[in-house]
């Protein structure tokens, strides 16, 4: 007990330093992180993860507003995107779509080669929805969700 009384103030100080550091990170987002973007005219301000899964996996064909949805993949970022979204590898996603080739019930998202193409499509289509790295953002699109947050949620769920 005596030991705790002596070391107690020291532990408190350490804790305060750590909290301050994390607030500093939050305040300055990582430019490499993936963010979900929509057309500003879509009327969407934010999307839930489940909504994003249903749109990207072909379950929902329309946005909550009623506009036909047009999901777009950023070719290079796909592995990271699907890991963050559904904790799936790219090959799992590919086999999912392969299973559905013949039914025609749903089709995979359209492929974009780079961030510019994503920005171009999203800004020109009211129902388009895409993702890109934060550093490539501009004013023609609106951020609807931060994928890194979902990933944190997912980790928290997986490791309760």
């Amino acid at each position: 007990m005596k030991t705790l009384w002596r070391t107690g103030p020291l532990l408190l100080a350490l804790f305060l330093v750590m909290v301050t550091a994390s607030q500093t990170v939050m305040a300055e987002p990582d430019p490499e992180e993936l963010v979900l973007v929509v057309n500003p005219a879509s009327g969407i301000t934010s999307l839930q993860r489940t909504e994003v899964i249903n749109l990207y996996m072909g379950r929902f064909r329309q946005l909550p507003s009623g506009t036909t949805a047009l999901p777009i993949d950023l070719y290079d970022a796909r592995p990271e995107f699907y890991r963050l979204l559904a904790n799936k590898t790219l090959s799992e996603i590919n086999s999912y779509w392969a299973r559905l080739v013949f039914s025609g019930r749903a089709s995979p998202p359209r492929q974009a080669q780079d961030a510019a193409e994503v920005l171009d499509i999203v800004s020109n289509n009211k129902g388009a929805i895409g993702y890109l790295r934060r550093k490539d953002l501009n004013d023609t699109v609106q951020v609807a969700a931060n994928l890194a947050v979902w990933a944190t949620e997912q980790t928290a769920q997986l490791e309760p």
Binding site: I53, M57, A86, Y96, R99, F102, S103, G104, R105, A106
Partner: protein, 525 residues
């Protein structure tokens, strides 16, 4: 007809073994049917569950996308399985694919209600394990499953029954080979075994050292023992036969008549001497109605009968003498009882002995000179009288006998005595007894006379006196006058002693002499 179950060891053990096996088999089969049914049902259930898990991923996708085509493919695939009666896949509340009798158009909840044993699996979103996107329902074809279970169980049970039967058969064969056959073989050998020449039983080959072999050894030991016993018995019998022949020969050839009869006098056995003694032919005794012993002894039957009864009653030897036949012959019979209620009799002829004894007795009681009785004879005669019988006694004394003896010599005296006795004999009644007591004293016993019949006695006395009152010729040229005095007394046998009566008669005779001789006097009290 004998029951083969009771005469055949192998059959009986077979029946018992088979019965036990059948009972055991039924129990085992019943238990295994239950177990197999349970196991098979569980397997079928697992198989169905396996089927469902196989298609689960695809079904998840189909439910996720509400993709009816994909769902239908799954359903068709599942329906290819015979154990599946119906399948339905729902996405949310919609049934997106269904197959099976009377299932079309039913809602998901109605399906579950109609088939309570439906296998029900939640379909989760392929991308979000927390979200249920639909359900897959699988209705098992219970009939087919039951059929398959039944087939599997029947096959297993059949194999089990076959195995049990096989074991039973093997056991029976072993019983027959190991037990029944050796026993039958021993039995057959025993049947033809010639024990009397010392033949021994042989153990069946291979059984020398086991229980069967021991049985054979035991039987042989018993045969040995019995043969020994038989020999002892045979020797004993021979010995007995020899003895019997010896005894029979003694019996047959004995000089004494030996015979056995029962209490009724019926002859049971006899020897040759018996036939001789009773003057019988063997034919007469072997006839249909042989004479009894009582008939053979004539009027002595009653005596013999009494003796037989006494002998049997007292269990003691008994000796009697009987007289039979004509000329009369005396037999002495010694009767001895035997244990069987019969009497053994040994008969000896004693006629000669009897005659000699009678003659000796006669001689002893007879006066040699006159042939009359002497004093002994007289005493015996009196003692032989029946008690209470009265008698008269005449006591006679010659008057001048001493003078004749002195003048003519003793020879002349003897002649006088002889002549007197002749006279007395002539005059006395046949029943009267005459004796010379000694010298010239004579007595006459007149039996049956009492004092009221004095006249008979006095008349005889008178006659005697008269006969002696004439001269008596003793030689051609010598004749003498004798004369006598007589005393008469009366007595009663058992009441008065002979001495007393003689004394009384003597006194009466003395009185007659005093009164002048040649007279008689009666004793008076």
């Amino acid at each position: 007809m004998s029951n083969p179950l009771k005469t055949r060891l192998a059959l009986r053990s077979a029946v018992i073994i088979l019965s036990l096996l059948v009972i055991l088999g039924v129990l085992i089969v019943a238990a295994s049917v239950l177990f197999l049914t349970w196991m098979e049902t569980r397997d079928q259930q697992r198989q169905l569950e396996g089927l469902m898990s196989t298609v689960e991923n695809t079904a998840q996708v189909a439910a996720f996308l509400e993709d009816e085509q994909l769902a239908n493919e799954i359903v068709v695939g599942l329906m290819a399985n015979r154990t599946v009666l119906g399948v339905a896949i729902t996405s949310g509340e919609h049934v997106i694919a269904v197959n099976g009798p009377n299932l079309a158009g039913l809602s998901a909840s109605a399906l579950a209600q109609q088939y309570p044993d439906t296998l029900n699996s939640r379909l989760l979103s392929p991308f979000n394990p927390e979200e249920q996107v639909g359900t897959i329902l699988l209705i098992p074809n219970r009939e087919v499953i039951r059929q398959q279970v039944l087939e599997a169980v029947l096959l297993a049970s059949g194999l089990l029954v076959l195995q049990i039967l096989g074991i039973g058969l093997v056991v029976i064969l072993v019983v027959v080979r190991m037990i029944t056959r050796p026993i039958t073989s021993i039995s057959n050998r025993l049947h033809h075994l010639q024990v009397e020449i010392g033949e021994k039983l042989q153990s069946p080959r291979g059984n020398e050292h086991d229980e069967v072999g021991r049985l054979v050894l035991d039987v042989n030991a018993m045969i040995d023992y019995l043969v020994k016993l038989l020999n002892v018995e045979k020797n004993l019998r021979t010995e007995i036969e020899v003895n019997e022949r010896k005894f029979r020969s003694i019996f047959e050839n004995a000089q004494s008549a030996i015979f056995v009869c029962d209490g009724q006098g019926v002859l049971q056995s006899y020897n040759l001497a018996f036939l001789r003694e009773f003057d019988l032919s063997p034919q007469r005794l072997t006839s249909s109605a042989p004479p009894t012993l009582f008939q053979l002894v004539g009027n002595q039957g009653a005596i013999l009968q009494t003796a037989l009864r006494e002998c049997l009653d007292s269990k003691r030897n008994h000796t009697i003498e009987i007289a039979i036949g004509n000329p009369r012959r005396w037999l002495e019979l010694v009767l001895g009882p035997d244990n069987a209620g019969s009497v053994q009799i040994i008969a000896n002829e004693i006629t000669a002995l009897k005659d000699a004894s009678a003659q000796a007795e006669r001689r002893a009681s007879t006066d040699a000179l006159t042939g009359l009785g002497n004093r002994l004879g007289f005493t015996r005669r009196l003692s032989r009288l029946q008690i209470g019988e009265p008698f008269a006694l005449l006591y006679l004394d010659l008057d001048h006998f001493k003078k004749i003896n002195d003048t003519h010599g003793h020879q002349a005296g003897d002649r006088v005595l002889i002549k007197v006795s002749e006279t007395l004999r002539q005059l006395a009644r046949k029943t009267d007894y005459i004796a010379r007591l000694g010298g010239d004293e004579f007595v006459l016993v007149l039996e049956g006379l009492n004092k009221t019949q004095t006249e008979i006695a006095t008349r005889l006395a008178g006659n005697i006196l008269a006969a002696l009152d004439v001269p008596m010729t003793i030689y051609d040229d010598v004749s003498v006058l004798i004369g006598a005095s007589i005393g008469i007394a009366f007595g009663e046998s058992g009441k008065t002693s002979s001495e007393q009566v003689i004394q009384q008669a003597d006194q009466a005779m003395y009185r007659a002499k005093q009164e002048g001789r040649q007279r008689y006097c009666i004793h008076s009290d």
